[in-house]
Symmetry: C2
Subunit: 472 residues, 2 copies
């Protein structure tokens, strides 16, 4: 290949890979030449070649532009990416399930994210606008770990108003609950330690344990009352467990909420043994009853409970602002954070703090809870109407997930694959465990504004469930 | 204690811990009673007690407010926190050094952050404002890993315009360079693997290796040319090294930039052995010469170089937006990110993308480079003027750090402690190594707008250096 052909090929590849898109102005001849160390004549030849091939067009007095019809190469098609064999790594599988929910052609019942339309909030936009006006780089230092002071005070006030004794000094602001959970786990364990988790559990917990080389002790967990405390007690006697990671309210994926007396027994069991509790309470604000179910943190007497939550599920998805009320571990978590992620995005911390200050949060939450309760009930009714009566469905009193059990001999993995081929995603039980105990289960996201599309998707699932042959 | 005394004590503790501040309205009598399960009379007695003690005041028709003079308990005083004994954990020490830089009373020569006044940018504020207007929760899904598409294209274009072949598809947007570095390390190693790093190195690298249970092989690194390639080659022959983590340009803490021929040899050495290079290039845009020194990534032929950078040092401190051009590891990094931190803050990604689209970035960068070069030269002159001639000072051609060497028998740790007592912070060599090789070295931040305060601080350091007795 000559030099000008090489240059033409480079530019063509840049267009195909999306660096330059139709209508973009290309670098000038002089600039291109200087950069590539080529003569002006060589660049002219390269651009003329590209023009003759239809990739770019010259505009007099202006330069070269990418032609309107020049298209990037097609992406890998979806069906290829999602074909699952038993050999595929579970993390890759989870990733693919979540990715499929980004596709607008797919009904995202398998999604972990609440329906975006629930969060249209002009007041939050105004808070962000206000921050844009007053943000200066000087704010950055003041918002380093433990994070924005006003925000930590607001969060502490909300705890106190719910009857939970938490002071601003034990709160650390994080990039969403995922960071608070990860930092908490690092603060209370060493690699090789045993950690008790629910079975089934949020896949993020399984991932985090694996990343930190911790040993998971999976405890049976029921769709109604949550973790089985007799099993937990047995495990505590059997293994040198250093920490528990639990969702006490509206557990993901099953939707269980531990009764108050269970929370008391849980806290006693752990307190006696000086075991830390990492309490993931991200759905705690999404209750359907009159009052918020108190987290175990309300019963914390010695700072061993690390209560993790965020604004991602109830106010501002995508802002990535969460926190941990970390008890005695707060100083350690600040240290871990500063040396690993530096800080939570400063404008985001300030925007949420402003929003909380100017009110409207509780009004928003009341509306959100009402809508979620309504939407869950609509989806439950559709399921009751169309699904075979052998399918068991959970009835959570908060959050936005339904947990469904097929007959034990039916495979939710097969259902997942067939449903996806028909444009419906579900979250199969396999995502939430390292065992095969939940291969006949799946989770549905119930947060959507119901429409014909959703009704049709439920009918599709119903038909596919009836067609499922028993697993041999 | 009676019930009302208990309640009064709770509220008093809330005021002392900063949940409620002077002027804040307390919850109403009815609300408080309901929450605490107490009669209205008990609450009235508690509030009257607090009023008689001067903690709160009643305002007719309105309720109870925290009294103007009610003060939170004093914080732990600084000097206690910073007293360092040899027993103190190095991470705690690094944290304390960084924390001290938040104190407005201290001249923050030990700070890792560039001077905030360098980043006063109305155009960035306008971009953020624009995002506030058009942000909807629907943007969240579209900005999940690999991140905002427009932002990834802009970044790819900047690579291409610098003569580096990078396509949008290999770029993953992260929460600052720290996340891109951490994800890169996870993508290319398994716990127990050997990783070659510089000595001295950015403390974030040491932390990350420790967290991921990797074995560090520290390679001698010079203040002028960077990592010693003969030593690296020897190490590669001696240990089964899986990855290198290096800063090829304006290395932190020494300020070294590898000459182009060294970068070529580095890439060859690693390429022959199929070893991944994690290239931390966060200071790459801050060059003082005419052209940007090319990163090793420019020589990448097989996608084994993961080039990590961010906008934190050159555009938007506190936004926490960075990226990695991850070559063949891009899909894996997306997966790791989605399952660990979910995504980078969406409004922040959109704001930076808008800013880059509307221009002005290169003008800003030119001004920033000019100012940093000027400020470094002013600080260097002050040092040359006041410091004993035995102190060696680096002369980096970019970035904003100076690296100083005392006589080998002088302790930078002792200097650190004495300087801090006089209101000046430095970053002692001990922060950047697990050895004691740099106990006579320290790093200064040269990014500040010079003033009498800084001149005085340099004089203070000069005096303290002269007073340093030899270490026995």
């Amino acid at each position: 290949m000559t030099r000008y052909e090489q240059l033409a090929q480079q530019v063509r590849e840049q267009i195909q890979s999306g660096v330059w898109r139709a209508g973009d102005k290309l670098p000038s001849l002089r600039e291109s030449g200087k950069r590539a160390g080529l003569s002006l004549m060589t660049v002219v030849q390269a651009y003329q070649l590209l023009e003759s091939q239809g990739w770019i067009v010259a505009r007099p007095q202006s330069g070269y532009y990418v032609a309107a019809h020049a298209q990037p190469l097609p992406q890998v098609v979806r069906s290829e990416k999602l074909l699952l064999s038993e050999q595929v790594d579970i993390n890759t599988f989870i990733f693919d399930v979540l990715q499929a929910c980004k596709d607008p052609e797919i009904v995202p019942f398998g999604s972990a994210f609440p329906d975006a339309t629930l969060f249209m909030q002009p007041k939050l936009a105004r808070a962000l606008s206000g921050v844009a006006r007053k943000f200066t780089p000087h704010n950055s230092l003041a918002n380093l770990p433990p994070g924005n002071e006003a925000l930590r005070r607001h969060i502490a006030q909300r705890y106190v108003l719910s009857g939970i004794q938490v002071v601003p000094d034990e709160i650390v602001i994080t990039a969403g609950a995922m960071e608070s959970l990860n930092l908490s786990l690092q603060a209370v364990t060493q690699p090789g330690d045993y950690v008790a988790i629910e079975s089934p559990a949020f896949y993020g917990a399984l991932q985090a344990l694996e990343r930190l080389r911790l040993k998971a002790v999976a405890i049976a967990t029921h769709p109604q009352d949550g973790i089985d405390l007799d099993s937990l007690q047995q495990a505590l006697e059997q293994y040198p467990i250093r920490a528990c990671w639990l969702m006490t309210n509206f557990q993901n994926p099953q939707g269980a909420t531990m009764p108050q007396k269970n929370k008391q027994r849980l806290v006693s069991l752990l307190h006696e043994r000086q075991i830390s509790l990492i309490e993931d309470d991200v759905y705690g604000e999404l209750y359907f009853a009159a009052d918020r179910p108190l987290p175990a943190k309300a019963l914390d007497s010695d700072g061993q409970i690390l209560h993790c939550s965020s604004f991602s599920k109830c106010l501002a998805p995508g802002f990535r602002v969460g926190w941990v009320a970390a008890g005695r571990y707060a100083p350690q978590i600040q240290r871990l954070q500063l040396l690993s992620t530096v800080s939570t995005s400063v404008p985001m911390q300030m925007a949420i703090a402003d929003y909380l200050l100017h009110g409207g949060y509780d009004t928003h939450l009341r509306r959100l809870r009402r809508l979620l309760a309504l939407r869950q009930s609509v989806m439950s009714q559709a399921i009751a109407h169309y699904f075979p009566p052998t399918v068991k469905v959970s009835q959570p009193v908060g959050g936005y997930f339904l947990w469904l059990e097929l007959r034990p001999e039916q495979s939710a993995m097969v259902l997942y694959q067939r449903a996806l081929a028909e444009g419906v995603s579900i979250a199969p039980g396999r995502m939430f465990t390292t065992s095969n105990h939940f291969d006949h289960c799946f989770r549905l996201n119930a947060s959507f504004d119901w429409s014909d599309k959703h009704e049709t998707a439920i009918k599709t699932l119903a038909r596919l469930i009836r067609e499922l042959e028993p697993v041999v």
